[in-house]
Structure formats: structure tokens, C-alpha cells
């Protein structure tokens, strides 16, 4: 991997870090519960992207499964939280 692509990957990772920090601030501060759920869902999506970028950085396809797991678990947890906010219970 060439050096400038390394620097691009560093810049991308730092941007993802800043984005996750801003979303974490929103999740901690968020006036309502649905704001927090939205922010945590965004953090999960960016973490999944971070896994893919780290996989490109190490040139290893081992990071495919964590990314897939994060995408699935992020969807399931956000849907469960939204259902809980909507009904007061997850499974009726």
C-alpha cells in the first residue's frame, strides 16, 4: 500500500472519530429519548464503516464479519429501542 493511501486512511479514520464523538455528544445531551436512539444508531453505522476502513488498511478480509455483525446488531437494537419507545414493551 502506498504512503499517500495510508495518509488518506488516517484522515478518514480521524473524520469517523470526530463524527462519532459529535454523535456521542448528542446521545449524552439529547433532550428526548428518540434523539439518543438516533445518535447511537448513527454511531453503530460509523463504527461499521470504521471496521471496513481498518480492513482496507490491514489488507485483511477478517474485518468483514465484524462489520456485518455491527450492521445487524445496530439494526436490531435500534428497532427494539424504537419499538420500546412506541409501545412500552418490545415483544407484545
Amino acid at each position: 500500500m502506498s504512503t499517500w493511501l495510508q495518509y488518506v486512511i488516517y484522515i478518514t479514520t480521524a473524520s469517523y472519530g470526530i463524527a462519532m464523538t459529535l454523535a456521542l455528544w448528542r446521545a449524552l445531551r439529547g433532550p428526548t429519548a428518540q434523539d439518543r436512539v438516533l445518535a447511537v444508531d448513527f454511531i453503530t453505522v460509523v463504527g461499521m464503516l470504521l471496521m471496513l476502513v481498518i480492513g482496507i488498511h490491514y489488507a485483511s478480509s477478517t474485518y468483514f464479519e465484524p462489520a456485518l455483525l455491527l450492521a445487524l446488531l445496530g439494526f436490531v437494537s435500534s428497532a427494539a429501542c424504537a419499538k420500546f419507545l412506541l409501545r412500552g414493551e418490545v415483544i407484545e
Binding site: 502506498s2 463524527a19 438516533l38 464503516l49 471496513l52 476502513v53 482496507i56
Partner: protein, 124 residues
């Protein structure tokens, strides 16, 4: 990291796609932190969840295809999965937010839709 076999145009394309996704993630987070309303805040993460995810998965497909010398399409599974699951989460969260705002009797919330019963037009 013995990735000397990757051609330059693939690295260039990967770099451009990764920078686009980084800019989209920053824009989403900025909107999430700055916008003042829940329903305004709800539409910004879709930037990352659609175009950002597609950019990174296309970059991964390109890079690993060039690295291993064969077609590696499985990174598109993630993009397909996200394109299925993100609308469900969005609709559920929007319903939850609307429901809670109505419960708290906040001003400016649209009222629930009342279905009018149509007149009976059956011949009997």
C-alpha cells in the same frame, strides 16, 4: 501488508471514495449536533447510511478484488443489508417520536389521520 500488486488507479479510486465517505460522515455528525428539532435531526444520518456505506463498500470491493486477483463481491452484502434495514429503523423512530410528542401534547405536532368511512355503494 504486501499489497504492492494493487494498481495505482485502484488506490486512487479507493482514496477518493474514502474521502467522500469521511466528508459525508462529518456532515452527518455536524447536522446531528447542530440542528434544533428531532425531525430535522432525523434525516441527516441517512447521508452516511446510504451514500457513505455505498462508497466504502465499493472501495472495499475494488481494493480486495485488485488485491486478491479475483472478484470479491461480498462487501456489497453490507450495503444491501443497510439499504433494507435503514428505512425500517427510520420509520419506527419517526413513529415513536410522533407518538411521544403527541403524548406530551407539544404544539406544532400534526394530528392523527382520521379515516372517514366511505358511503356504502353496494347494490344490496
Amino acid at each position: 501488508m504486501n499489497a504492492a500488486a494493487v494498481p495505482v488507479w485502484v488506490e486512487l479510486a479507493v482514496a477518493v471514495l474514502l474521502l467522500i465517505s469521511a466528508a459525508l460522515a462529518l456532515a452527518s455528525a455536524w447536522g446531528l449536533a447542530r440542528l434544533g428539532d428531532f425531525f430535522s435531526r432525523m434525516h441527516v444520518p441517512a447521508l452516511t447510511a446510504t451514500l457513505g456505506v455505498w462508497c466504502v463498500s465499493v472501495a472495499a470491493v475494488l481494493y480486495f478484488s485488485a488485491l486478491e486477483g479475483r472478484l470479491e463481491l461480498r462487501y456489497w452484502v453490507i450495503a444491501l443489508l443497510m439499504s433494507i434495514t435503514v428505512p425500517i429503523t427510520t420509520v419506527l423512530l419517526a413513529r415513536a417520536g410522533l407518538f411521544r410528542m403527541r403524548q406530551q401534547k407539544q404544539p406544532g405536532v400534526p394530528p392523527p389521520v382520521r379515516l372517514r368511512r366511505l358511503p356504502d355503494r353496494s347494490p344490496h
